[in-house]
Subunit: 226 residues, 4 copies
């Protein structure tokens, strides 16, 4: 059971798309990455697209800043934006260089359909609804990656350390820092989801499920790129 | 007591800005219009700005169509859009002609600050929040005008018929058709407001109060234009 | 050569994604439909998704209404919205019934990834840019279907009349009415594209190419649904 | 002549609203501030509203991040966002404390109509159009304040140093740092405005003029608050 699936409003969202969440968290891409058997070209394709993904992810947090109703919400959006643009993007570019992908290649890779699908879905969900809708559409990414890292850590077939070429990726998402960030987001969602009407929760569950389906496609895109 | 202020979720919104609502519904512009003593130039200034207002009001319903989550919501937005663009705008242009304002003058009038303030506030409220936020920001207009017409009808100083140059204006908003449209909107709001969290209702109350304040300014703009 | 590819600013856009446009207009789905050999289940899958597509297409025209800078633009958006919601949706539902898909099935079909990808891409392009960006993102649909119908009409392997179960589909998009609507859109685009800066045209060409790629996926989704 | 009014595409925008720009830059509020004769309560009212303004200004830069088409644009939006939220807001709160306005009072001041009018106008201009429209709507603020500080510095009636209670305000906007930021924005605008169609420039000129008018109202609001 993924760590997020405990009793809480967010856990209820997860329960309503339990099948999709499991397919996402335990996808063949994830399993092969855990075992260190993922073809390097699959990972490279994923890395190139993840760079493009980050740009739209940053745009989504810009939208979150716009949609804020308080200074607290505004600072939360800005913090996420800074984390992506000032930190993660640099780390990503450095990490890609280790995999033989230079900055030029990153910037000039055509955007895959799966990247367009998930990122634009998130942005539309945010525009159509309010800040909560936007966060729910983003949750499969932030919270999903944290769950995935913990799931990987718990599997018998997982290989850690130098024997696994994907060790750095696993370590980053399993790190206390990333896990804490994911927990902060879970807490925020639980606070906001509490007391919402059944109709609202239905709409949010659809958004969460659709976004999870599009994350599954993102893994599959990596595999297909090999 | 305005007709909308009965016991219901929307009535609670009204109660939270009772003072502003009263100032809006019983504004000097409204009183003078009811008594037939409003300076013609004040009314003409109002009419010219109301034309520009209608254009942004139509844009707001376009936004409502975009933000719809179901075909029912989408048709509701479209119906409002058609009512404004295909019907009201034509009536407004004809009515303005009776007051000596031709189409050219309407289209070339500079937009008053009060017009910009209310219309852009509504559009931002709609973008920042979801469809409910947008409707709440629009409510002082649709529901307010219905309440105002009924308030006018109930005042001893009101002059009806040919003796009042503003009879046609009063008759339009007091008409069954307009009153039914306002009631439909009240019903929709009551359905959507039911069961919302206290935090959400606080935000909506702020939006409703601000929009009402900006409607007050719109009346004042008319008076100041004389 | 597709009818749109004549000398004009829009033709330049087409030239810049000539390969994608050809793959789109001459896709295996289109060829099989022209020949009457498309598996019925592929067509049914396409029809179900096209219904969901229409809803988001309507949302896009709602967005166009919002983004309008003049009453002319606003009426143009509203006309498209009415054509979709008041006319096309009804025709589509009736047509689907002929293929054994009732309204319930239409409304409850899960949205395919390819549908999400194209529709959300269009909506984001519209939000990110201005009205011209939105129209360019929509062009592969409106203008593309017109080009496709004319291409079908010109192919030796095309079967028309009762011998082709897809005759009604072909006839609708080949009709004068649809062709005129597409030409009106081409004319509008040519007017707006004229004189744009090279940088702007680069951005629009990217949008047009991406949208065309996502339309290709939409055909492929139909084939894969069989 | 304000420093911005030299020959360039942005200067052409200024020329098209020369009258409004002059009224804005040489407003009685500005003159009294330069002379040190502005009533303290007028300034305090301005300061309280400027705090609320900053929040929506930050939202506008969040929107700019969303609307970015490149990493360069995205970083530019983020830099402005950080400057406002991480720097200016803190300075503003400290400065307000010197004028006897504590943080609680700042956060609980009702938003004035003039604040709503300008901020929501900017946000709608940004949503309706593209990133350039948003920047043009923001320009009267960033570039205007720089022009105003330089105009103040050049007036014979201006009092500088301890003799003027508004010295710190003048010094901040006259500082090299602020002037350089304004020049950077002018340069960006000149690059983007170059080569735009006449129709586009007409629309942008309207936006710039309207935004300037709403800035004039913001000064007047300060005076009226005394």
């Amino acid at each position: 059971m993924p760590p997020s699936a405990t009793s809480s409003p967010f856990a209820s969202l997860l329960t309503r798309c339990a099948l999709e969440w499991q397919v996402y968290c335990q996808h063949e891409f994830v399993r092969a990455l855990a075992a260190g058997t993922l073809p390097a070209e699959a990972f490279r394709h994923y890395l190139r697209q993840d760079y493009l993904f980050l740009i739209h992810f940053a745009r989504a947090w810009g939208l979150a800043v716009y949609k804020s109703r308080s200074l607290t919400e505004l600072r939360q959006g800005l913090d996420s934006l800074k984390a992506i643009v000032d930190l993660e993007m640099g780390l990503h570019v450095d990490y890609c260089a280790q995999w033989g992908i230079d900055a030029d290649e990153l910037e000039n890779s055509p955007e895959a359909r799966e990247t367009m699908a998930y990122t634009r879905y998130v942005l539309d969900a945010g525009h159509r609804g309010d800040l909560l809708d936007l966060h729910v559409a983003l949750a499969p990414c932030l919270i999903g990656y944290a769950d995935i890292a913990r799931w990987i850590e718990a599997q018998p077939f997982t290989v850690r350390g130098l024997a696994n070429p994907y060790e750095a990726w696993i370590a980053m998402y399993a790190s206390d820092e990333f896990q804490v960030a994911a927990q902060t987001e879970r807490d925020w969602l639980n606070t906001r989801l509490a007391g919402q009407t059944a109709e609202r929760l239905d709409g949010l569950a659809t958004t969460f499920r659709d976004a999870t389906r599009l994350e599954i496609d993102f893994w599959q895109m990596g595999l297909d790129g090999a």
